[in-house]
Symmetry: C2
């Protein structure tokens, strides 16, 4: 497993040199020093400024060479050439990490990208790690370390807590920090990565997945630059049961455009990103508010894999609303046991005891009943998540204290549950409920999403890392193979293919047809004709020897007419399978995440409805089955419209085998298109396949020869 | 048009009698009096209490008969029989309206439903209007009228403003009020309707659509009881340019269940409700928070039909996020003009001037540039909605005042635009921005939804009421007709049908086939066999006379074998149309909204993918075309996969004609299923149709005979 320790000097250093240190505490080179002084950074601070002996009360140094010791971190707050030079000097002095505010690199133009490559090379040469360039810096409140030029701390310092923020965007990272602080959430660490010439967001996530200061990770990304570290980080976070909430933006055409001009990020294929995040149980948030709702709920560290929601409400209307929201998400709200319902009904005849449990405003006259009802939900209902909806009554001067006392008593008796209150109350009242151990959301719909997310994390943690998938031995040919060869290669990797034979003359074709059994399909076979159907190179439903003989002649004639230069290797005779449902399997190579498998039902499902599912390779048959089941068109494989049920096990095994093949084949495999895959009640077969290969790189001896 | 004036005495009365008046200001019969005294209700208050001479300092009366005058409104705060008796007495005295807190009616059981019917009859007999029973009451802050027993006012009274709240649920209605108040929104009027034995939510909406106190309507519904008044209210609100934001809950199975036990509401077919709300430009909110976001934005009363979004941001990350959100909703963010981009680039070289316009933190050193950039967005960009993202800087002590000054100056110069700020700031700073005329949302994603909604309203207001659709003359047969008759009826109403003939013997069938041209389809014709294909009663692709002859015999044989008792009227010979794309048209009768049309592509699109669109009847061809275009499978009609383009005009005309037919046919028409409708490049034809009719009610003379 990747270790993310090399980021230690950047985030937990013992000393820092500030290149471009300013005496003015609001200047870019002044803020970090002012912040660190105010927050009591425990390490040494070396201001570097050739024009001053003292900076903000600290002795300053004219240049890097004059520093009394090699700093752990060099913070670069000077522009242009001076910045590059400082990095070089810091490297020479034995500095371990660079944090670089300086902008004007890859985000600007090609020349800037060149300077950025140079910068990265310098850093590598000295074995340093680099955060940025074009980043806002970071803070680690636990040691008073503030190499950051945000103005966010004007209105307050980070609160105690365990939410880590990792963001490619600096301004947005501190926006998340400020929004979190504004609602009382503790974020001890925030790291912004900017252009990521060296340290990537994935590495920061990995560091947080290991760091004890962080229990919940809140991330913002415009594009993932390094798949390997990103995947390793998500894997580590899952193993360590640390939920990751991610805003991955740039999903739209417009957003992707904006991302490019912002941190020079390539947003990537959003369907692939989405699949990767789902694979690791990352919650993909659509807004900052949602991200913080979920991070907030996650601070309870209760992640029920078998989540259920029980609701206690004083408003039947809120009960209906929450039922809708829970069902839309897939958060079960099973009914209370019959006996419990009868008991509650005896307590308050007009109550609705099923779930949502409407205890009605009657409880305002008998506050004890609130506790009684809540306890029944916890004990008899056994719900993992319990939402109490008390709206303004929860914050009222007369009812509020009663509600608080009753609910707190029951919560204490069932501390393993996720307890959540939906109340409208003054901030100090909300804080009091929180001090009692409750999550508080004014809006019940937001509460439902957050509670649902805890189960989502719980299932991901319970599932653990996927089973390893054995990889087949694969030897790829020199060049892109023709259909029959492609299928032979796939068959060897465990993907069943339609029985077929290569025939070099009409009589061989007839013999093959007799052996396979009629009806048969005839296809022209040529490495130069990849799209056979376009030239009429496929004949279906040939029912006897004479049809096969005539068909053979016809195919050759068509090939000669349409593509006179094509090398014809003969004709492929294949058994025609009837009554099949058609699917398509595919492999594409994502530039960040490597081979990705795709599955969809054939025809309109893929072309018109884009009803396809993606998954990073490899994966086992159980995962393949989940993919197939999640297709909108899945009912067609499951007996809809009077069709026979397809052999789902065979399909899943074939798809999993294809995913293993894609990994084993290595980077020369550019894409695979298995279309159609014919699904029958027993078995499934690839009827056509295209393998696209990169040319084999010349090895030494060939090059010399 | 319906008038909603009859609700006046309930909402704007001159006097009120409180039946069950309590001296205790926190009791159910005490709160209304305490509230009205405190808020200075301008009318007379008559406490009715047989055991006290004075109630809360007001002279009390032993019973209704003893009142000095007939009150405009009687408020019933006593349980059981006494409540019904009080209503009777109030009616006798000439009271005009009843507000009834009393519960235990239709929401409980069948006996309760009986009592409720009785209550409604009493009220009708005296020409009164009734709010409730089982309601929380209402308030009209503009006249200090508070016949309501909520505890919501403990923490504050309604703020000045123009948002009206209409809610079936009492507790949820006051939750919306409290949530609104908590964020500074003014809601002068809130009406809760409870069981709706008489006054429905629709009527309350209609009253608000006319009332000058209300400019924006925020509604909560579990089930719509009276389609006519609801539709009239929505129509009126649209004509009066008053946006309606509605939470219609009970969309899920679980939620529908909860609604029934709450206000005895039937949630209804959610797809129909959804279509009705869309038809009238009502915004359907998924959460209270979203509803209030949109009501808040609507208080600006700026509804740009051609909405565009320009964004000024200090965070490129926020720009990407907002671009994603805007594109997902369909809110255009066109780029700034080239010349403007060049000018901004000259001002700040590192800025991103396209849109989102990232003015970068550079502007914090030159605050004037903020104004310059904002003005460029308004003047040169010409955006209708302008979002400024300044995060914590907007609330900071150093930058905040500069940002406010700059932005306020530009907003004043362009007061016709929707100006919105996304800042993290203390409540008083937020109020200051609002006082300058800005909408303020901390979360930029929520801002985008609210701004988009203003354009949604704008388009609805601009479109105005739909064009009237001429209705055909329709004479329905006595009983459900057979296929040929059904198609004849539809053809008469303007829906083209496949050329076909009824044949009573094989030779007639051959003649018909020769006349229509081969190939033909043969179908068994019997009023007793509605599902022909189940008994093999349809033969396709008959290519010559002998096939038709054999087919005729075969069909009769099959019918005799499978349904010996069926009356066979012969065989239908129809021209077989090849190469068509199949659709299905349908009509269903919604118990609330009457005939509703449905359209979908045939086969899997309807059965597996539920890819169907609903619309209340009647509607014109333009609307029918919009419906067809909104199908997920629409590309199949538009040339996808090499198919010929279907005749969209013909399809739209046929669907519109069907919708007019459904209305003209009246309530005896229970359903229509036209399936398939064959769409060709020129024209479309109904190939099969089932009309389901209710039996004709006997008229007087028939009954006697």
């Amino acid at each position: 497993m990747t270790s993310f320790r090399s980021l230690e000097p950047l985030i937990r250093p013992g000393s820092i040199a500030v290149i471009g240190a300013s005496d003015e505490p609001t200047r870019i080179g002044g803020r970090p020093i002012a912040y660190m002084k105010e927050q009591g950074f425990r390490g040494a601070i070396y201001p570097v400024n050739p024009r001053r002996a003292m900076v903000q009360g600290l002795p300053a140094f004219p240049d890097v060479a004059a520093l009394p010791a090699a700093p752990d971190v060099g913070l670069i707050a000077v522009p242009g050439e001076a910045a590059l030079q400082a990095v070089e000097e810091l490297g020479r002095r034995g500095c371990k990490g660079i944090i670089m505010f300086t902008a004007g690199f890859a985000e600007v133009d090609e020349a800037g990208a060149g300077r950025q490559r140079e910068l990265a090379a310098t850093v590598r040469r000295y074995g340093m790690r680099l955060l940025g360039p074009n980043c806002l810096g970071l803070f680690n409140a636990s040691i008073g370390f503030y190499p950051i030029f945000s103005s966010s701390f004007e209105t307050g310092w980070p609160l105690p807590g365990r939410i880590g923020i990792a963001s490619q965007s600096g301004a947005y990272g501190t926006h998340v920090y400020s929004a979190a602080r504004n609602r009382g959430l503790g974020t001890p660490i925030c790291v912004t990565t900017g252009n990521e010439a060296d340290v990537t967001l994935g590495e920061v996530l990995g560091w947080m997945a290991e760091a004890e200061e962080v229990e919940v990770i809140c991330a913002y990304a415009e594009g993932i630059r390094d798949g390997a570290s990103f995947l390793a980080a998500l894997d580590l976070a899952r193993r360590n049961r640390k939920p990751v909430v991610m805003m991955k933006v740039g999903r739209s055409a417009l957003g992707g455009e904006a991302a490019r001009s912002h941190t020079a990020s390539i947003a990537g294929d959003d369907r692939v990103t989405d699949a990767v995040l789902r694979e690791f149980g990352v919650w993909r948030a659509r807004s900052t508010e949602e991200a913080l709702d979920i991070a907030y709920a996650a601070t309870k560290r209760i992640y029920p894999a078998a989540n259920t929601l029980g609701m206690l409400t004083v408003s039947g209307g809120a009960g209906v609303l929450v039922s809708d929201a829970a069902e839309a998400l897939g958060l079960p709200m099973p009914p209370m046991p019959e006996a419990a319902q009868a008991r509650l009904k005896a307590l308050i005849p007009f109550c609705a005891p099923r779930n949502p449990v409407d205890c009605t405003a009657q409880t305002f006259n008998q506050p004890d009943l609130i506790g009684e009802f809540a306890e029944s939900l916890a004990r008899e209902g056994g719900y993992q998540s319990i939402l109490g909806f008390f709206t303004q009554a929860g914050g009222s001067l007369t009812m509020g204290p009663h509600i608080r006392t009753q609910m707190a008593r029951v919560r204490q008796a069932f501390p393993d549950r996720l307890w959540c209150m939906s109340v409208i109350a003054a901030p100090e009242v909300v804080r009091a409920y929180e001090a009692d151990g409750f999550l508080v959301f004014e809006d019940p719909t937001r509460a439902v999403v957050a509670l649902y997310a805890m189960g989502y994390f719980g299932r991901a943690f319970a599932a653990g890392p996927p089973t390893t998938v054995p990889l087949p031995e694969v030897t790829l040919p020199e060049a892109t193979p023709h259909e029959a060869e492609a299928k032979r290669i796939l068959a060897a990797a465990g993907i069943p293919t339609v029985p077929e034979r290569i025939c070099r003359d009409a009589e061989a074709a007839v013999q093959a047809a007799e052996a396979l059994g009629y009806p048969v399909v005839l296809k022209i076979l040529s490495p130069d004709i990849l799209h056979k159907s376009e030239i009429g190179g496929v004949l279906l439903d040939l029912a006897d020897a004479s049809a096969v003989r005539a068909g053979y002649a016809e195919l050759l004639e068509r090939a000669r007419r349409c593509t006179p230069a094509a090398r014809i290797e003969g004709v492929l005779v294949a058994k025609q399978l009837r009554g099949a449902t058609e699917l398509a399997f595919g492999i594409l190579r994502d530039p960040v995440f490597g081979p990705v498998a795709m599955v969809g039902l054939g025809g309109i499902f893929i072309e018109v409805l884009q009803d396809v599912v993606f998954r990073r390779c490899p994966f086992d048959a159980a995962e393949a089955e989940r993919m197939i089941r999640s297709l909108r068109g899945f009912p067609l494989l499951d007996g809809a419209r009077g069709r026979p049920r397809a052999d789902l096990g065979a399909l899943a095994r074939a798809l999993s085998a294809l995913s293993a093949f894609a990994v084993a084949a290595g980077p020369r495999l550019l894409s695979v298109d298995v279309n159609p895959v014919l699904a029958l009640p027993e078995g499934c077969w690839a009827a056509d396949a295209v393998l696209e290969l990169a040319p084999r790189p010349l090895v030494g001896s060939e090059r010399e020869g």
